[in-house]
Subunit: 151 residues, 2 copies
DNA sequence: GATTTTGTAACAAGACAAGTGACATGAGCC
DNA sequence: GGCTCATGTCACTTGTCTTGTTACAAAATC
């Protein structure tokens, strides 16, 4: 559990859902992510609130994709997750009195802000459909048996 | 303790040391960083190993700057710290079997690698002297009393 | 009414930087 | 030589955040 893997997981799930029209239960999703149904619900709550997926209770319920993959960027998913912290590094003190520390923080914050902006710009320029297409290319190139969720 | 603040702290200390020629003990440094002498020694060990600072025991001992600030970039300090993890986010699985997950991880890794490269490039293009100069400018602009470590 | 499935709260586990106490080691001072 | 200062390092605790897990209420289907 070294990193925050929510974005990675959600992207995986969304593409998975696109390939299986029927609703997927939290338990099925949890199994494919090697985790727990509660974690799935907790993480997907943001996507539901933003209207990317829908959840239904009872028999035949589960999660369904609402919007096509072509209309969702990686950034959309990131935002739906509540814009988790990107960086593991940061300043020691947010409001330092020492002017030197302020100068240091400014320099670091500038660089980090730029890097974050680049990252988010990149995420905003890639749709989930493009990743799915990349997957398709790999799938046909290799044998179809390599695809893990053949169900 | 939300973030890894080692880089921020070390930059602060190095510039501080440049402005006070005499050796600074871990205890003095700890006081100005609002932390503990052991944390200071632990964190500065990397800088010593890389030859940026020297530490001496006994009376009159402590930490002294070896190289001028103009010959140290923020990246040098980052590297001396052991290149800590930059990002808080990451893939759920480093070696996934599922091809979809592989495609997702590739897309994310690409974007993150670019962002990290940009960040490190920026850090490599700024010397500690430049930050010190920025501090000097602020200091003369305001009243000198605002400088917290007047000692 | 029984079963399935989500929603949510509450809490434990894992990871990692940071904080802390203890003690050995070496360098100067008397 | 002995004392004091200061680093070096080990071992352990704390704080914080994502994950994992258990428990249970609420809603929808059979
Ligand atoms: S896409 Fe279904 S398990 Fe990876
Ligand atoms: S530079 Fe000395 S305390 Fe900030």
């Amino acid at each position: 559990m070294r990193n925050d893997s929510r974005l990675s997981r959600m992207l995986h799930v969304l593409i998975h859902m696109d390939r299986h029209q029927n609703a997927a239960t939290s338990e099925m999703i949890a199994k494919m992510l090697n985790t727990n149904p509660v974690v799935v619900r907790r993480t997907m709550a943001g996507l539901r609130d933003q209207g990317y997926v829908r959840s239904e209770k009872g028999h035949g319920g589960g999660w369904t994709l609402v919007r096509p993959l072509s209309e969702m960027t990686l950034l959309d998913v990131y935002n739906a997750l509540g814009e988790p912290h990107v960086f593991a590094i940061g300043p020691a003190d947010d409001q330092p009195k020492c002017l030197v520390e302020q100068a240091v923080n400014n320099a670091l914050a500038d660089a980090m802000k730029e890097a974050e902006a680049l990252l988010l710009r990149r995420l905003g320029n890639v749709t989930l459909e493009e990743i799915a297409a990349e997957f398709e290319a790999k799938l046909t190139a290799r044998s179809a048996a390599a695809y893990s969720c053949a169900s």
